[in-house]
């Protein structure tokens, strides 16, 4: 292992960056001055390449120093080309609260060359069509992992050609046989696929292919980290730079080993700056399908929770077999969540939000200022195309349920907010829609505010239906 002494992103101060900037305060980056820009750089909010002058010839040496200073201990690797190119790795820290995790792990779904062409087409369509809108953003799948099951290079070439005709998804070519990989590359090398894998047995032949084509490659040594970094060291000496590491994804009774292996590798990279461990890690939850389980559902189930564990514990790229929506959805949502900025406030500002073109007869709703509650409600109101006012109440950043339980959302608080935001001047009626999860506050709220309370749905997805069916409310 090659431990180096380098500053972690947490130890780099804005001054360290500022010293290497032009210090002209030209503001071409959009910031007021170089110090402000430097601060954003160390916080991971902007990249150093956002400074136009430093990209010019005059600052060539400073740029190199800056790039070296800020380089993540886990390298960034790209595969695929053009719009569909994927960027993996680029990690700085072990724990999310230390610094925002960068580059969410792409999920590749497998295709095997023993599938009929039609079956392959259906599967690709499923991958491409898979999408879920989460707080207004589409979540989707990213790549295909093409496995050689027949061991026939002709069939492999044919399958890759077929796939390339159907889609632009980035590819991972999966076989430990260099002849198969060579056959696959012949049909898609211009797409810069990721090659899986170099092993102790094939490194000489596979290494030649990697050097010939310039494609990135997975180095695989399941269960043996010493062998893994031995291979990395050897390949580095040979001039191979674009690598991804496969420490092995063990499952069932060995699942604990997988977490140990992934954690050890990532710790070596970001804590000890071991340059042999400083590459993205491949997780292969698809491995569960080699286990003894005879029930497909149980395999999907295992693959699903294992994938979520690998998203939590350091996988930078994932290969899955399941294309079941119920198994994939939690992965996409968890991947989205854990890669958000941990410093992002848990809350949004309290106040009035206006949707559509509300008038004096439009509904008035209330919700909490917990960010995810707010975004969910916002997205549901927009989807339902309702003209209305939404009063966001300061609940200390707690969700409606927690805020009611913890007395952060009370009748008094609701009355105070209606007053503060002058709800009575917005509309000519006095009907207030409160969240279903705050139903128990309805009596007290009517007393405190003098408004009539309508209890809304427990989940804001029901707002549209409620407004259609119950608005305007019938007179008592």
């Amino acid at each position: 292992m090659k431990a180096e002494h380098k500053k972690s992103i947490r130890e780099i101060s804005p001054i360290d960056v500022y010293k290497l900037l032009p210090q002209t305060n030209c503001a071409e980056c959009g910031e007021a001055n170089c110090m402000a820009f430097a601060t954003k750089v160390v916080n991971g909010e902007v990249f150093i390449e956002g400074c136009p002058p430093v990209l010019t010839k005059n600052y060539e040496k400073d740029l190199l120093k800056l790039q070296e200073l800020l380089a993540p201990p886990v390298r960034v690797i790209h595969f695929g080309t053009g719009n569909s190119q994927l960027k993996i790795g680029g990690k700085h820290v072990l724990y999310r609260h230390e610094f925002t995790y960068q580059n969410p792990p792409p999920i590749a779904i497998d295709i095997s060359d023993d599938m009929e062409n039609e079956q392959i087409a259906t599967r690709i369509k499923k991958v491409q069509d898979f999408s879920y809108t989460y707080i207004g953003r589409p979540l989707s799948l990213d790549a295909l992992a093409v496995r050689s099951v027949t061991q026939n290079p002709y069939r492999y070439t044919e399958v890759i050609q077929h796939i390339c005709e159907l889609c632009n998804l980035p590819l991972i070519l999966c076989s430990t046989d260099p002849n198969i990989i060579k056959a696959g590359l012949s049909a898609c090398v211009e797409r810069k696929p990721l090659i899986f894998a170099i092993t102790k047995e094939n490194w000489k032949e596979m290494g030649e292919l990697v050097l010939d084509t310039g494609c990135p490659v997975v180095v695989s040594a399941p269960g043996d980290l010493s062998l893994l970094i031995t291979l990395v060291r050897t390949l580095q000496e040979w001039g191979i730079e674009e690598m991804v590491l496969d420490p092995g994804t063990f499952h069932s009774d060995k699942i604990g080993q997988t977490i140990h292996l992934f954690t050890a590798l990532r710790k070596a990279a970001v804590k000890n700056f071991d340059s042999l461990s400083g590459y993205p890690i491949l997780g292969t939850p698809i491995s569960v399908w080699n286990g003894p389980e005879l029930s497909d559902d149980l395999n999907h189930w295992q693959e699903a929770y294992l994938t979520s564990m690998l998203i939590t514990r350091y996988a930078d790229l994932l290969i899955m077999h399941s294309i079941e929506g119920w198994a994939l959805l939690p992965q996409l949502i968890w991947r989205f969540g854990i890669y958000t900025d941990p410093r992002k406030p848990v809350s949004v500002d309290a106040g009035i939000r206006t949707f559509g073109n509300p008038d004096k007869t439009s509904p008035v709703l209330i919700t909490s200022n917990y960010a995810l509650t707010y975004f969910t409600v916002e997205s549901d109101i927009k989807t339902a195309k309702i003209d209305c006012y939404l009063i966001v109440i300061d609940t200390g950043g707690l969700s409606v349920e927690a805020a009611v339980a913890g007395r952060y959302l009370t009748a008094a608080k609701i009355a105070e907010s209606l007053k503060e935001w002058k709800a009575d001047t917005l509309v000519s009626h006095k009907n207030l829609i409160i969240p279903g999860l705050a139903a128990r506050l309805s009596g007290e709220t009517e007393e405190e505010t003098g408004w009539r309370v309508l209890v809304g749905p427990r989940d804001s997805s029901g707002i549209g239906q409620m407004i259609r069916e119950r608005w305007p409310p019938a007179d008592e």
């Binding site: 496995r147 002709y154 002849n179 084509t213 031995t230 699942i255 119920w326 939690p330 506050l441 997805s461």
Partner: protein, 416 residues
């Protein structure tokens, strides 16, 4: 646990209905039709990772490859490197707390559970497994609460009988503990008296032998009255009172609750909403009236999709700070995993593309639980039997994984 004491899996399948029966049937088939499956095993054996001797296609050889970027001489042999995997050593540890008390210890429980005692971030190194497996407590409510079908299905017969519900949790779903949520005491709902609540707890204590967690309604005054009453009634049982809050401090009810819990030998759970400073502050206030050695923390569990990442990070931060020496955070933590079901993705019919609602819900609860298990949570409040059995299974295998032999990645050529 002897075989007889184990929850009967076929019974579980029957309870969960045909969908889950199918899911679990893999195990059954394995047990009952070994010969049949052996005959079919061929299909499952991966084709070997080596070439079967097909020549490489001519087209491939002829194809122009992109020119090499950098070409150095190939090393003759592998250059040997050794990977060193040292466990982290932390200066401090989490307090170890036993919940429940047997007759010999002054209570009436048949068993007790111990949580905490961790000296490192869990599951990061084979040499430092957590000292105790996570404890799983299953929920019981003393009044009807809105509940997704997936949870209600197997509970229809016990929904109005907390004692029978608790018994079912222990006997059929293998609960280590039972949480009795006394929501009926809420002044804004049924406003039942502390005495009535205490009677419910008494019934549950008689129905099951596992330690209990007592959940309040969230009203700082009412909970204080209820907890005080129950603390005296269940003298010596080492209940976990869920929870004490800074609202109690504001309502001046914190002191009496803490003192009652201390006098009668119970444990307390301090609840705060995703904020370590508040958690520390609340703990300091509690220490004035109650021994830290019997205090646990609930830092708030948010559902996957509704901010699980906030819960995850706050637990990682708390555990790290505690192990580095912050005594105000060296308490075992609990997670109300059941909150998973507040996410619409857990229970809503999202159409055929996201189908199998009967699996998506329990998976939601499972993933929330496993994620926080990785962050160091010690005790889980749960509901769905499949989530419970998966969390328990995974935790056991994380703590004591089977040995591995360095291997080839056989999935690449696997026939699935």
């Amino acid at each position: 646990m002897t075989d007889q004491e184990k929850p009967d899996i076929s019974n579980l399948i029957r309870l969960l209905g045909p969908g889950l029966g199918e899911l679990l049937s893999g195990r059954q088939i394995e047990l009952e039709h070994v010969e049949v499956e052996l005959g079919e095993l061929e299909l499952w054996i991966p084709v070997g990772g080596i070439s079967q001797g097909f020549p490489a296609p001519v087209a491939a050889a002829a194809k122009q490859m992109t020119p090499p970027v950098k070409r150095l001489p190939r090393p003759d042999d592998l250059i040997s490197e050794k990977f060193l995997m040292e466990p982290d050593v932390f200066p401090a540890q989490i307090r170890e707390i036993t919940l429940g008390a047997t007759r010999a210890e002054g209570g009436t429980r048949g068993s007790t559970v111990t949580v905490g005692g961790s000296t490192s971030i869990p599951f990061t190194h084979p040499q430092s497994p957590p000292p105790h497996p996570p404890v799983i407590s299953l929920d019981v409510f003393d009044t009807r609460v809105p509940m997704p079908k997936a949870l209600k299905n197997h509970l229809t017969e016990v929904l109005d009988d907390p004692a029978a519900w608790a018994k079912m949790n222990v006997e059929q779903f293998g609960a280590d503990m039972v949480t009795v949520h006394l929501l009926s005491t809420d002044p804004l709902i049924q406003n039942k008296s502390p005495r009535e609540a205490s009677k419910t707890v008494e019934e549950v204590l008689q129905a099951v032998e596992v330690p209990l967690i007592i959940g309040g309604c969230g009203d700082p005054k009412k909970d204080a009255e209820t907890f005080t009453e129950i603390a005296a009634m269940a003298e010596g049982e080492r209940l976990l009172l869920n929870s004490v809050t800074s609202d109690m401090a504001d309502a001046k009810t914190l002191e009496p609750v803490c003192k009652a819990a201390d006098t009668h030998g119970h444990c307390l759970l301090g609840f705060t909403g995703l904020d370590l400073n508040s958690a520390k502050e609340l703990n300091r206030r509690i220490y004035q009236y109650f021994p830290p050695e019997r205090l646990l923390m609930d830092l708030t569990t948010v559902a996957l999709g509704y901010g699980l990442e906030y819960s995850f990070s706050i637990h990682e931060r708390a555990r790290m700070a505690a192990l580095m020496g912050d005594p105000e955070l060296q308490h075992p933590t609990i997670s109300a995993c059941t909150n998973a079901w507040s996410a619409r993705e857990a229970w809503m019919d999202l159409g055929p593309a996201f189908g199998r609602n009967d699996l998506r819900g329990p998976l939601w609860e499972t993933i929330g639980g496993i994620t926080l298990l990785l962050a160091g949570v010690d005790l889980f409040l749960m509901m769905h039997p499949l989530a419970v059995s998966t969390l328990r299974d995974v935790a056991g295998k994380l703590m004591h994984p089977a040995e591995i032999k360095p291997d080839m990645a056989d999935w690449a050529a696997l026939k699935i």
